[in-house]
Structures are given as C-alpha cells and as structure tokens.
C-alpha cells in the first residue's frame, strides 16, 4: 500500500485552525495566570459576587426554560409549516441575533414606556427588576433556541409522524408521542445554548434592568462593576467562573449530541 502524498492544503488549514485555537487558549491562559488562586477564591467569597452567581444561575435557568417553551412550537412551525410569508417570518425571528445588544435593551426600555408597557408593568414590573433581567436574557436567548429547535425538527423525518396520524393520532398527539421524544436531545441543546447565551448577556441587562448591586447584578454586571472600581482580581475571578460554566455547558451539549 503506497503512502498518500503530502498535501499542503491540509497543512494550511491545520495552521489556520491551530493559530485560532492558540489565540483563544492564550487569552484564557493570560487571564488565569494574572491572579493567584487565593485572590480568585477571596473574590468569589464576597457577598456581592455570591449574590451575582446565585442570580445568574436562577435567571439563566428561568430563561432557558422559557426559551425552550417558545422555541419548540416556533421551531416546529418553521420546520414543518408550509404557509405564505414563512421565509419572512424565519428572517424576522433572527432579528434579535443580529441587533446590537444595547439596541435590544433600548427597545425594551422604550417599549415599557408605552401605554401597553405600562399596563404590563401594572401586573409584573420589568424595568430595573429581576424580571427585567430574565426578559432581557430571554429576548436574545430565545432566538438562539428557536434556531436550534428548527434545525432539530428539520433533521427529523416527517414520515414517522405521518404514520402516527394514520394509526389514529391527531396532529398534536403525533407530535407529542413521536416527534418530541425524538427531539429531546435537540431540546437539551436548545435550552443549554439559551442558558449559556443568557449567562454572558450584558448590554440589554445594563440598559433595561440596570446594574444595581445586590438587586439586578448578574455575573457580567459584576465583571463590569469590579473593573469600573479597579478591582481586577475580582473581575478576573468572575470571568474565569463564567468560562468554566461555559465549558461545562459546551461539554454537556457535545456529550448529549454524540448520543443522538
């Protein structure tokens, strides 16, 4: 058997990929070695940062759940529905992904100054509240979850669902019994992506929910607040914590994905 000839094409691709990976490892490594483990541990023990960790975990989990609740029906509609204007709807649902995050926050702020917004706030106050943090995270996190669920449903054949219809199911029951169980890993991925995206959300939260310590402070807000008072160790500690959480989420999604 002859050896395959060396192809510089793959070498160039490998160099580009390796350089990009090294760049990221360099960035994270620089942050990690900038401060001692003691400083990092000390920073994570402060009352404000513990509050931010707790609030981030709670709001991201709520956002992930709400995003999934929206993404399953919308993703299904986009993947299976055949109706006029579908392409426009599909494009419109990407708007939160392409809008600058600050603009999303500004849109939320302005919306809740309208009559409709005031009426909603009579029931649930959003502006500068924890509910506002969740809403700001949701606006963007849900868009990513919808993309993921749409892709999931597009990859699942429609034929088993059609067979279920012939066996006596209604459309809803066929989707519930056949398609949703098959989509469970996609649902996990969608919720995880919404969760991870929400964890890093900063712009809309700053504009719409504010950056009040011990009230609407989530982890990205902590990084910004600590940097603004020159406490670099605390900012790095929180950043590294967020990196660790992001890696855990990514690894979970990969592990689940490989079992599909």
């Amino acid at each position: 058997m002859s050896r395959r000839a060396f192809d510089p094409f793959w070498l160039v691709l490998g160099i580009v990929t390796g350089t990009y990976l090294l760049f990221w490892i360099g960035l994270l490594g620089a942050a990690a070695v900038h401060s001692s483990p003691y400083d990092l541990w000390h920073a994570l023990q402060t009352r404000e940062i513990r509050f931010a960790i707790g609030l981030s975990l709670i709001t991201c989990t709520l956002t992930a759940g709400l995003s999934l609740f929206l993404a399953v029906p919308v993703g299904y509609l986009l993947a299976r529905g055949r109706f006029p204007g579908r392409a426009w709807l599909d494009a419109a649902l990407d708007i939160p992904i392409v809008l600058p995050p600050m603009v999303v926050g500004l849109c939320l702020l302005i919306f809740f100054q309208t009559v409709v917004g005031h009426l909603i706030e009579c029931v649930v106050p959003f502006t500068y509240t924890v509910a506002g943090v969740v809403l700001a995270q949701f606006v963007i996190g849900a868009a990513f979850a919808v993309r993921t669920m749409r892709g999931t449903f597009e990859h699942l054949s429609e034929r088993p669902e059609n067979v279920a219809l012939t066996l006596g199911c209604t459309r809803t029951r066929a989707a519930w019994l056949v398609t949703l169980p098959a989509a469970r890993r996609g649902m996990f991925a969608a919720a995880s992506i919404a969760w991870a995206r929400s964890l890093g959300e900063f712009g809309p939260i700053l504009v719409f929910a504010g950056a009040t310590r011990m009230k609407t402070e989530v982890l990205p807000t902590s990084v910004w607040l600590e940097l603004s008072v020159g406490n670099l160790e605390a900012a790095i500690a929180v950043s590294l914590l967020m990196v660790a959480l992001a890696i855990v989420v990514l690894a979970s999604v990969r592990l689940m994905g490989e079992r599909v």
């Binding site: 699942l156 054949s157 034929r159 088993p160 059609n162 067979v163 279920a164 219809l165 012939t166 066996l167 006596g168 199911c169 209604t170 029951r173 019994l177 056949v178 169980p181 098959a182 469970r184």
Partner: protein, 220 residues
C-alpha cells in the same frame, strides 16, 4: 375494497388525472409504475396525508375523502418503515391500540399475537437503530396491522432489502394477507414482486392508472 373515483392531484408541473380503479375486498392489489411516477402520492392520498383536487376515495362502503387519516381504518407501511426512533418494537406493535386507549392487558395480548407470526418475538425490547432492514419492515407491518385495519397500504416494502431478506418477507406479506383477508394495495416498480403477490395488477403511466396483466409490458 379500495376505490379511487376520478381522483386528481397536482403538485407544481406534476399531475395525476382522472384516476379510477378498484381493488376488490380481500384481494392483493399491486400498483406498478416508474420511480417518481406518483405511486407514493396515490398511497398518501388514500391515507389522507395529501388532499386530492378532484374525486373521491372509498374504503369498503365508506367514502373517506374528507376523513382524517386516523379515521380511515387503514394500515400504512412506508418505504423505509418510518419507525418511531425512540420506541421499542413492543411499543410500536402496541401503538395503535395505545392511541385508542385500550387496556394494557389487551395491548400486551395483541403484541404477543403479532410478534410470533411476524418473527420478531425476540426483538420486542429492541429499538430501531439496532434492527436490520428486514426486521424494520416486519415491525412496520406489525404496527400497521395492530388495530386490525380493513385496508393495508404498502409502499415498496421489499425494494431496500437484499435477496435473502426479500424472499421470506414476500412470503410473509402473502401469508398475512391470506390469513387476515385484509385488502392490500402494494406499490412497486419490481415486476417480480407483482408476479409473486398480485391478485389484481394496475399500472400507473403518465398520470393515469389502468388495470394490467403480467403478460403485458411492465416496467422492470
């Protein structure tokens, strides 16, 4: 009985026009035609998965054109089996009865009744990814027969199988049809399948269906 009465259907430039033919009660009907000629679309029209633009469909003495797929009393075996990816073979065989909210004891009894003759009794706790092509088709057949339909629709059930698997499955289809007296419409482009199984043979050509005979020119 399966009766097409002046059925028309159109999708873009492709059209089926004035399709009228009948598979008599308890007979094994085979519909032949070229790949891409509309055979699967005709089965999906019977199932209620596609809506005809003209005409009516009769199953037995019922006009079913406007009924939902699940109200038509038929069993459907798509080309690749289209098994439910997360369910075990046992759950597949019990699915139609579960949907009808039958008692668990009745479902279990029916699963046992089906699994033996179909040769899948040893597979009841397996899921689709672990099944061979022939096993998948047997499971799809059992799932379609579970609620004792009047009519069984088979979409190229043997085409993806190797010779060693095709022969026993063709025997099984023949035996099941004779034992249950279900009215079958089996679509295929294989002359050998038609020769082996058909009581009554039809040919779909240029959007029209005509009754045919094996000694006439057929697509191979």
């Amino acid at each position: 009985m399966i009766r097409f009465d002046n059925i028309g259907w159109q999708a873009g430039a492709f059209a089926l026009k004035n399709i009228s033919f009948t598979v008599p009660d308890g007979q094994y009907g085979v519909l032949m035609g070229r790949t891409g000629g509309g055979k699967t679309s005709l089965l999906e029209i019977i199932c209620g998965l596609r809506r005809p633009t003209t005409g009516s469909i009769w199953l037995g003495d019922r006009q079913v054109t406007d009924l939902a797929p699940g109200e038509r009393g038929l069993g459907y075996v798509p080309q690749d089996g289209a098994l439910f990816p997360t369910m075990t073979v046992r759950e597949h065989l019990g699915f139609a009865l579960r949907v009808r909210r039958r008692p668990a004891s009745e479902i279990a009894r029916r699963v046992e009744e089906l699994a033996g003759p179909l040769g899948i009794a040893a597979l009841l706790d397996r899921r689709p990814p672990g099944l061979s092509g022939g096993e998948r088709q047997r499971v799809a057949l059992g799932r379609a027969l579970a609620a004792r339909p009047q009519v069984l629709l088979l979409d190229e059930p043997l085409s993806a199988l190797d010779d060693d698997t095709r022969e026993p499955l063709a025997d099984l289809l023949h035996r099941v049809q004779r034992e249950t007296a279900v009215t079958v419409l089996h679509v295929t482009h294989q002359r050998s399948e038609a020769a082996r199984l058909a009581d009554v043979l039809f040919r779909l050509d240029a959007g029209q269906v005509v009754e045919s005979h094996l000694n006439e020119h057929l697509y191979v």
